[in-house]
């Protein structure tokens, strides 16, 4: 009896738990008019002083987008999105060139400290260079000097267009062409800003690069575009973390991330996503439609995706690896947590094209409340990919009898030397484990936390130190004791 009472209490606590990071920063924004036409695109392009080739790229993408229909194959249900009711560009008004942190808008600094990422602290203590993206325009970039010493380019994509047009022109849209899918076409037409990083030949980036995205201002779709390139022998670990303020209306988010690794290069891309998931009635929340893809272009190159997905009302996200170079390696580690009415359809694609390519997929789904959590993944071994090796493991944990956990793997093998394995299990938290913990005096809530953390450990271990801490906190906030 008392156990049940406690469970109910715990459940209540979790379901009524407020979104910690829900607040709105009042900063004047420079907005495009609502709706999407060629004029909107010209407006964005003009605002950003873009060269003509980029405007043409956007227009081409827009015209292609008009011919497409929104995909409906994912296990997601949401009211139709009115693309004409969205503001496609919003930027904090730049006051003047900034010399030091003191000159940054104090309100903005406050926002960051609320998020627990005070720039000053980060700068002094953790040695992480932060390229903070406030809505759509990069506001402040730190550690530029350290990076400059190694000839590493790390800036916003608009700056890169200005300062390194050749590089941007060479790589933009090569991994995710604007024809790729509906949301990729949309992003290519209206992308506002994002990060650009180029690691030159033989350079190991000495610090972990990080960028924080924040969706601010109501009705602003944010369309980042990230482009990371590691030239021969280069290495970088890149972190992306997100929180968004509380809003009633659904906000659309359609990003593109492109990664390219040349011979012997390696890129580690880690994400912690904690956007507003909507309230416990399923009202509001971010719609997150992201196209992330890495191309292992050179021999012996490696791309590793790690993601912790706890936020967003709708997640549509498949970070992929195209293993083109011989001996290249692709990895995907994911923890996706859904609660209340959240829906996640996420997974990966591993496309084996080169010889002796290897890929690993570890996906852990946790669903609670009335949420639905799907893993959808493709492993393809093409005719020429001799000796390809894949191992996939996709586990789902169900907390509560109102939620759903689904697994949709696709395995296509066209080469007889391939070894492909897929394993998956779905279950609830084992009563034996709970009993074991409780018997030893660990209360229900803590026991569940312990078990879930242990369950996700395999993935959390792959995160860089700073992120691992944040990720564990997020798991705790989203789930703490949400089952009995």
């Amino acid at each position: 009896m008392s156990d049940k009472k406690k469970d109910n209490h715990v459940l209540e606590e979790v379901t009524t738990g407020e979104y910690k990071y829900g607040f709105v920063t009042k900063i004047e924004t420079d907005q495009a008019p609502k709706g999407l036409t060629e004029d909107t695109i010209r407006f964005i392009s003009k605002k950003k002083n873009e060269p003509d080739w980029l405007l043409q790229f956007r227009l081409k993408a827009f015209r292609h987008w008009l011919t497409l229909e929104e995909p409906d194959w994912a296990l997601l249900h949401h009211p139709p999105i009115n693309y004409q009711d969205i503001i496609y560009y919003s930027a904090p008004k730049p006051k003047k060139e900034l010399e030091s942190l003191d000159e940054v808008d104090p309100e903005l600094l406050d926002t960051f400290s609320k998020l627990g990422i005070s720039l000053e602290e980060q700068k002094r203590l953790s040695g992480v260079a932060v390229d903070a993206v406030m809505d759509s325009v990069s506001v402040k970039t730190t550690f530029q000097e350290t990076l400059a010493k190694h000839d590493i380019i790390f800036c916003s994509i608009s700056e890169a267009v200005k300062n390194h047009p050749d590089l941007v022109k060479k790589y933009l849209g090569t991994v995710v062409p604007y024809t790729d899918n509906y949301f990729a076409a949309l992003n290519s037409a209206v992308f506002s800003d994002g990060s650009f990083c180029y690691i030159p030949k033989g350079v190991r980036c000495p610090i972990e690069l990080s960028t924080y995205f924040r969706i601010n201002a109501a009705n602003t779709g944010q369309f980042e575009r990230t482009l990371l390139i590691a030239d021969e022998g280069g290495y970088v670990s890149y972190l992306e973390g997100c929180t968004a303020p509380m809003r009633d209306e659904n906000q659309l988010h359609a990003a593109i991330v492109e990664i390219i690794t040349h011979d012997n290069a390696e890129i580690k891309y880690s994400t912690v996503q904690n956007w507003y998931p909507g309230d416990k009635e399923g009202k509001g929340g971010i719609y997150n439609f992201v196209t992330k893809r890495g191309l292992c272009k050179g021999r012996n190159s490696k791309i590793s995706w790690t993601q912790v997905e706890t936020g967003s009302a709708i997640t549509w996200k498949y970070p992929s690896c195209v293993l083109l170079g011989d001996n290249s390696v692709g990895e995907f580690y994911s923890v996706a947590v859904t609660n209340n009415y959240q829906q996640a359809d996420t997974g990966t694609k591993m496309i084996h094209l080169g010889k002796n390519t290897k890929s690993t997929i570890i996906s852990k789904g946790i669903s609670a409340g009335k949420s639905n959590n799907s893993y959808r993944g493709l492993v393809r071994v093409s005719k020429k990919a001799d000796n390809a090796r894949n191992y996939s493991q996709c586990d789902s944990l169900l907390l509560g009898n109102q939620c759903g956990a689904h697994t949709f793997p696709y395995i296509k093998t066209e080469n007889e030397t391939a070894i492909v394995e897929h394993e998956a299990t779905t279950s609830k938290i084992s009563d034996d484990q709970l009993f074991y913990c409780q018997q030893r005096g660990i209360d229900m809530e803590k026991a569940i936390g312990l078990i879930v953390n242990g369950y996700a450990k395999q993935v959390l271990n792959k995160l860089p130190m700073e992120f691992a801490v944040e990720a564990q906190k997020l798991l705790a906030i989203t789930l703490e004791g949400s089952v009995g």
């Binding site: 169900l398 007889e416 070894i419 897929h422 998956a424 279950s427």
Partner: protein, 477 residues
């Protein structure tokens, strides 16, 4: 207004030649097709055709057909065949069964029509077990048929609609409550004319606490192409038990669409073993609907494909009630340019607690040109469940090969041995001894390549009517 819009849409729908052929055949021959029907069945046909007019046949854009192109499955100069085949000679004169020393009650379907002398077209024995033609059953036992026909098949696509609209005959089996049928029933389905497209509808009803062993063979006796579009509806009442063996050994030009739906009541037990040894294109769609508590099912399959053959296994298990257990195990070896698809699907409905569902698909590819697409999917809405699935694609274990060869076993034998061991897990599940031995033997021959060689052999051992022609290539002499 709305009607107008619908009309316009319909007008805009452009039919492919094969779609048109089926639609025309239906409107031209409706009276002939529905000659055995009671009024409800007639209405069902019309409805199915109406749906078909709107949707047509599925194409590759359909999720369930994305790896099997339905375009190429219609034989050239296709003849839609639904006439009654008169009984002329014994079945054994047309067809020699591969399974030897096997006592069974043979039920045969020739070119889509129940093949038996007139008065024996439907029989009822002292226990009340009814076996016969579905067309006859519709006239003789309309209540029984009405209650079950067309009730359970989910996911109606173009092929199922065409079957409902056009199928005239098939096999009807009814086992009353508390009857355990001793004899194994063996359905033999044969095509012996070229370019036929036949629609067959089978209905199997098992009463409470009953038991039946059923062997369902699809064979072809010539080298002509054909299309068999079959829908099987199976009802298992409480505590009933069905063992269903499917043996598919067709020529390389024949397409078989085998669509089976099983309605399982509480405590019923279902065992399916599907062996696909040859066939141009075989698609087995199984829908296991667990509509009663504590139902149990084992669905196993083995496919051995070579040349340009294509096998597509779609296994759907719906856990609609708590406490059910299902096991899916499919294994396959693909040689030459053969291609395979496995789409396993487990659906656990909300509150279907204490569900145990397992699914496994293992494949061996022998050549660079063989390919396999495997999709073991789970969709789960209940939390107290144990579900797992696995899929693997690989080649013959090198270490095992080394071990055997090191001990003096030659390469070809070692390879055979390992392949045979791979298939053995499924074969040993067969509980009918002579059948197991025969299938074992067939699999062995198949692995050596004998069975398909038989197809290309000029001697036609199984079909003595055909002339023996030796093609002599003068250039080589």
């Amino acid at each position: 207004m709305k009607e107008n819009v619908a009309m316009e849409k319909e007008e805009k729908k452009i039919y492919s030649p094969s779609e048109e052929k089926f639609i025309r055949h239906f409107s031209d021959n409706f009276d002939e097709i529905s000659r055995h029907d009671f009024p409800e069945a007639k209405r069902m046909r019309q409805q199915a055709m109406e749906t078909f007019r709107q949707s047509g046949f599925p194409d590759k854009t359909f999720e369930r057909w994305r790896n099997t192109d339905p375009k190429g499955i219609f034989p050239k100069n296709m003849e839609i065949f639904d006439a009654e085949v008169p009984y002329e000679k014994k079945l054994s004169e047309i067809f020699v069964c591969e399974v030897h020393d096997f006592e069974s009650r043979i039920i045969s379907v020739l070119n889509g029509s129940y093949y038996q002398a007139g008065e024996e077209k439907i029989t009822i024995d002292k226990n009340g077990v009814i076996v016969g033609s579905l067309a006859k059953a519709m006239q003789k036992y309309p209540q029984l048929v009405k209650k079950h026909l067309g009730r359970i098949m989910p996911q109606q696509d173009g092929f199922k609609n065409i079957n409902t609209a056009l199928a005239v005959d098939g096999v009807f089996i009814y086992v009353p409550d508390n009857i355990k049928v001793e004899n194994t029933f063996q359905i033999i389905n044969i095509l012996n004319k070229p370019n036929l497209a036949v629609n067959i509808r089978n209905l199997v009803i098992l009463g409470k606490n009953s038991h039946l062993q059923l062997l369902h063979c699809d064979d072809s006796v010539n080298r002509h192409g054909g299309l068999i579009n079959k829908v099987n509806e199976v009802f298992l009442d409480e505590n009933a038990e069905l063992e269903l063996y499917k043996l598919q050994n067709l020529n390389d030009k024949t397409t078989l669409l085998n669509q089976t739906a099983i309605d399982q009541s509480a405590n019923s037990r279902l065992k399916i073993n599907a062996f696909s040894l040859n066939g141009g294109m075989i698609r087995n769609e199984i829908f296991d609907l667990m509509n009663g508590e504590n139902a149990w099912s084992d669905i196993h399959g083995l496919y051995l494909m070579d040349q340009k053959q294509h096998i597509d296994n779609q296994v759907n298990v719906f856990h609609n009630k708590p406490g059910c257990t299902s096991n899916q195990l499919f294994k396959g070896i693909l040689d030459n340019e053969a291609s395979g698809v496995f789409n396993g699907y487990i659906y656990v409905k909300r509150y279907a607690q204490q569900t145990n569902a397992f699914q496994k698909n293992s494949n061996i590819l022998l050549t660079k040109t063989a390919r396999i697409d495997t999709m073991p999917h789970l969709e789960i809405y209940a939390d107290d469940v144990k579900c797992s699935h696995g899929a693997s694609v690989g080649q013959l274990d090198e270490e095992a090969m080394f071990y055997l060869m090191q001990r003096g076993i030659p390469f070809t034998d070692a390879r055979m041995l390992i392949m045979y061991a791979f298939t053995d897990v499924i074969i040993k599940e067969i509980s009918i001894e002579p059948l197991r031995i025969s299938i074992e033997d067939m699999v062995k021959r198949r692995l050596r390549g004998d069975l398909s060689i038989c197809d290309r052999c000029v001697l036609h051992c199984s079909h003595p009517d055909q002339p023996v022609i030796f093609d002599i290539d003068m250039n080589k002499i």
